[in-house]
């Protein structure tokens, strides 16, 4: 475990997590292996003005400013006094949100290209493999990191796959170019344990009748056996130990102590209820149910238990346990309220190298479907599904995920509302460092992607310079982020005008 630095802006919802993490502050704890080597390069102070800001804390500010300095957010509001020596960006017409966070990714462990030689996400030789860590298989040259960054993703939890009942540890990464995963590893973030319900483990192991689990009975027996053993292991450790190291048991003991979060792949409502009981039996907490296509059936219980649900906007039917997926799942989880008045914790996740590039659109679909079904969802609520809620669920909610003074300057400047098919990230900052700039395209950063498309053939097309069509040229900002060329196409957000102008001679 990395040491955790609580910030002044600690939120109440994270109190439990902070307590849990404090456990690893014990002086006698050995130095954690594979430490992060990430440090943010120095970056100039930036003042973004006249933006529509979604803070991730339920606020929407119009014509507002945000100041970043030394990699942190310093001020957010209608009137922010500019310090000397600051880059001022006129963001009129643009929207500013926290950097997007994907609570469920396999980038790096199932990278592009997708061949056996790169398939490193499932150690399917035993249904219980808590000793494996996804980070040891993360290939930082996966071109998917880069395309996800262009989609506004600044942090992500890379998990092992769901072939096993207990698949191993997942790690939180900052989405920055690096030659090692240590250079991406999020300082201060806890590890997560991947647990999987349902069809995948029983298909992988029991389908031929050769090995447990063959059934959902076997699944549950498998989790219980593992945690029963971990309890004994932990008891012995706390009594002085003396046993040989057991890497798998170290991970499960970390879960029992509350140091390691639990990310539980689980589709069906009945199985989620079972898992909540398993967690109670052994005294650990499930942080988040992932995929959870039936979360809407138990939205109240999830709110009551304070368990998040990380969901797709609309995936369904690819497995029997995904047959009951509905578009309103996210909205229904979000709308549930606990007896104490806590709102449901809904997350839109990707699990996919394409979906991660447009989490904003996936959230938009879920928001629109919810509104259509009568749920009141404001833009400033829906943005939490891809920022502050996943930040909380993967244990970095005190560090990033919202635009508040003291938090990391992880942000996305969009060409308009992010809730649109036409939305594009114009700029992406991570710890105040400009990591993606749509109008100053860099050469590819992944070594693998370098030189894949021969330059002479690339010229057959046109460079990727589609200007921000959502912003009329007349209203374009004065700073250098504005495209120099005028929009080549009519504004896509006004199809009527666009189509009409094309048809009138």
């Amino acid at each position: 475990m990395r040491r955790f630095q609580p910030l002044a802006a600690a939120s109440l919802a994270l109190a439990a997590l902070t307590l849990a993490l404090a456990a690893c502050k014990k002086d006698e704890a050995p130095a954690a292996p594979f430490p992060s080597t990430y440090t943010a390069p120095a970056a100039p102070a930036v003042l973004i003005t006249h933006a529509t800001i979604l803070t991730g804390t339920g606020r929407k500010l119009e014509d507002a400013s945000l100041l970043i300095q030394d990699g942190k957010i310093v001020a957010v509001g209608e009137e922010v006094a500019p310090p000397p020596q600051v880059e001022v960006i006129d963001a009129k017409g643009r929207w500013l949100t926290p950097g997007l966070i994907d609570a469920h990714s396999h980038l790096g462990v199932y990278p592009s290209p997708d061949v056996w030689a790169t398939a490193d996400g499932n150690e399917m030789v035993d249904p219980v493999t808590p000793g494996v860590w996804s980070e040891h298989a993360v290939w930082p040259q996966d071109p998917g990191f880069e395309t996800a960054r262009a989609g506004g993703v600044t942090s992500l939890l890379v998990l092992p796959g769901s072939g096993n009942l207990i698949g191993g540890r997942g790690s939180v990464l900052k989405n920055v170019p690096s030659v090692s995963y240590q250079g991406m590893k999020y300082p201060g973030a806890p590890y997560s344990l991947k647990i999987a319900c349902g069809e995948n483990p029983k298909r992988v192991y029991g389908k031929d009748g050769q090995r447990a689990p063959m059934t959902r009975m076997g699944n549950v027996a498998g989790y219980r056996a593992a945690f029963a053993k971990a309890k004994e292991y932990l008891k012995k450790q706390e009594a002085g130990g003396g046993e040989e190291r057991d890497l798998g048991m170290e991970t499960l003991a970390g879960v029992l102590k509350g140091d390691i979060l639990v990310q539980n792949h689980c589709y069906r409502a009945d199985e989620m209820e079972t898992m909540l009981d398993v967690a109670k039996e052994f005294g650990f907490k499930i942080t988040t149910f992932h995929h959870a296509v039936e979360a809407y059936k138990i939205a109240d219980r999830l709110a009551e238990e304070g368990v998040c649900a990380a969901l797709w906007a609309d995936w369904w039917g690819f497995k029997l346990e995904a047959f009951d997926g509905i578009r309103e799942n996210v909205a229904m989880v979000d709308a549930a309220v606990s007896k104490d008045g806590a709102r449901g914790c809904a997350i839109v996740h990707s699990d996919d190298p394409y979906g991660i590039q447009r989490l904003n659109q996936e959230a938009a679909k879920a928001m629109a479907a919810g509104r259509r079904a009568g749920y009141v969802i404001r833009d400033e609520d829906a943005i939490a599904w891809i920022t502050s809620n996943p930040a909380k669920a993967i244990g970095i909610g005190e560090l990033t995920g919202s635009l508040e003074p003291g938090k990391a300057a992880d942000l996305v400047l969009w060409n308009g509302t992010p809730f649109s098919s036409y939305a594009r990230a114009d700029r992406v900052y991570i710890d105040g460092v400009l990591r993606f700039d749509r109008y100053t395209p860099k050469p590819v950063e992944s070594d693998f992607a370098l030189g894949l498309a021969p330059p002479e053939e690339q010229e057959a097309g046109t460079p990727l310079t589609a200007p921000s069509a959502a912003i009329p040229a007349s209203a374009a900002p004065k700073t250098e982020i504005a495209p120099t060329a005028s929009p080549a196409e009519p504004a896509p957000t006004e199809p009527a005008a666009a189509a009409a102008s094309e048809t009138q001679p």
Partner: protein, 419 residues
């Protein structure tokens, strides 16, 4: 199994027959005050769409509404043709992970050209209402061209999702023959690309020779396969090939020339590198415009603005999702179209890629795909920009009939959600 399937079918069909009688009584319908995206003739503001029975009678601004017509005031809403997905397995695939519900795969012989999806298509598929209430009124339902499957995978059909029953469910039988190429086909033949192309040439040479592969060996194709391939060889039925790599597309262009085959590219991650040749030879591309990663070695040059490049070169584009969710979420093709616009494709070209262009690919452009007099009255009234992820249909019409806007998913929502 049911010993009296006819009895069972009769029970199922009785209520459907009543429902199907309704279109005949629908008579005249006028959608007024609409933003009509005709696709074939641009966009018309404050326009009227006039429907008689199952066909569009007139489209225009200031059209007189005939007496007795049912009038629906669109209040300025956008109206488009029903959407057309150029590549799905709808009606052939219910739950991807449950083999018992799959009729899209063609086993593992080398050639399965005679396979006909009509023999497996299920008009009662749960996927149909889920997708039609979001505006999909036509889809190609194709046999799978998966890894290890047959090289000639069989014949697909265009289905009408809007039809509320088995009648008129098939818009066009035998609309195309499907073939995998590149990595997927190599697995079937345990060889490289030259082996795959040779196997294709052998098959078509045999058809050309009238069913004789030559003196050296026995026939490679069954008699029914040869029969099924004749319309492909004559250029009447397109050959839709899953192919990504630019070099492979070039090889196929040559092959298609040699045999007079009407080629359609499906996949086409690197088609933008061959855009000029594709335009010259009038070969359409069925593309997922969001496919921008080098996820396969045959797609190393995939890029997000491929649709814009192909369109500028004059290539006919149709959109379909490359993901495994392509059938269940056919409804998301308009998100694909919107994303293509975000990467430089003109909005009207994006709409055409999910309406009229797929109709052209499968030879159905005289009956569907645009709002034109004489075409089938398949259209959608939208609550916003049709290519926006935040928009939904207010009402979908198929053959002039307002379809019920419910599905198994809306029923689940209503069971568990607020009313």
């Amino acid at each position: 199994m049911n010993r009296h399937p006819w009895l069972r079918r009769a029970r199922v069909l009785a209520p459907l027959a009543l429902a199907l009688a309704l279109p005949a009584q629908a008579g005249l319908l006028a959608i007024t005050n609409a933003k009509l995206y005709t696709v074939s003739g641009g966009a018309l503001e404050n326009a009227t769409l006039l429907i008689r029975n199952d066909l569009i009678e007139a489209v225009g601004v200031g059209l007189p509404v005939p007496e007795g017509a049912k009038v629906i005031d669109a209040a300025g809403a956008s109206v488009t043709p029903g959407l057309f997905d150029a590549y799905t397995h709808i009606g052939l695939e219910e739950i991807s992970g449950i083999d018992e519900t799959r009729d899209d795969a063609g086993g593992n012989p080398r050639y399965s050209a005679a396979l006909d999806v009509l023999d497996g298509l299920n008009p009662r598929s749960v996927l149909i209402p889920v997708n039609r209430i979001e505006g999909i009124t036509q889809a190609m339902s194709a046999p799978t061209t998966g890894e290890g499957g047959p090289l000639l995978a069989g014949r697909g059909a265009v289905i009408n999702l809007g039809q509320l029953g088995p009648q008129n469910f098939i818009a066009r039988a035998h609309a195309a023959q499907f073939v995998p190429f590149g990595e997927a086909a190599m697995a079937q033949l345990h060889g490289g690309r030259p082996t795959v192309l040779l196997a294709l040439r052998e098959a078509f040479q045999e058809v050309r020779n009238g069913g004789h592969s030559g003196v050296q060996r026995d026939s490679l194709l069954g008699a029914l396969d040869i029969e099924a391939l004749r319309p492909v060889l004559s250029g009447e039925q397109p050959l839709v090939v899953d192919v990504q790599r630019a070099a492979d597309i070039r090889a196929l262009l040559k092959f298609a020339d040699d045999y007079g085959i009407k080629l359609v590219i499906h996949g086409g991650a690197e088609a933008h590198l061959v855009a000029r040749e594709l335009a010259e030879k009038q070969v359409p591309v069925i593309l997922d415009p969001t496919y921008n990663l080098p996820i396969h070695f045959e797609a190393l040059a995939a890029r997000a603005d491929a649709a814009a490049i192909l369109h500028r070169a004059g290539v006919l584009l149709a959109f379909s999702a490359a993901s495994d969710m392509g059938s269940h979420n056919s409804r998301n093709i308009r998100q694909l179209a919107g994303n293509a616009v975000a990467y430089g494709l003109p909005w009207s070209a994006a709409l055409a890629a999910v309406t009229l262009n797929p109709a052209k690919v499968y030879g159905l452009d005289s009956t569907v795909g645009s709002l034109e007099a004489g075409k089938q009255a398949n259209f959608v009234i939208w609550d916003g920009d049709p290519l926006e992820v935040t928009s939904f249909p207010k009402q979908v019409y198929a053959a002039g009939v307002a379809i019920p806007m419910s599905s198994r998913q809306t029923q689940l929502r209503d069971r568990y959600g607020k009313r």
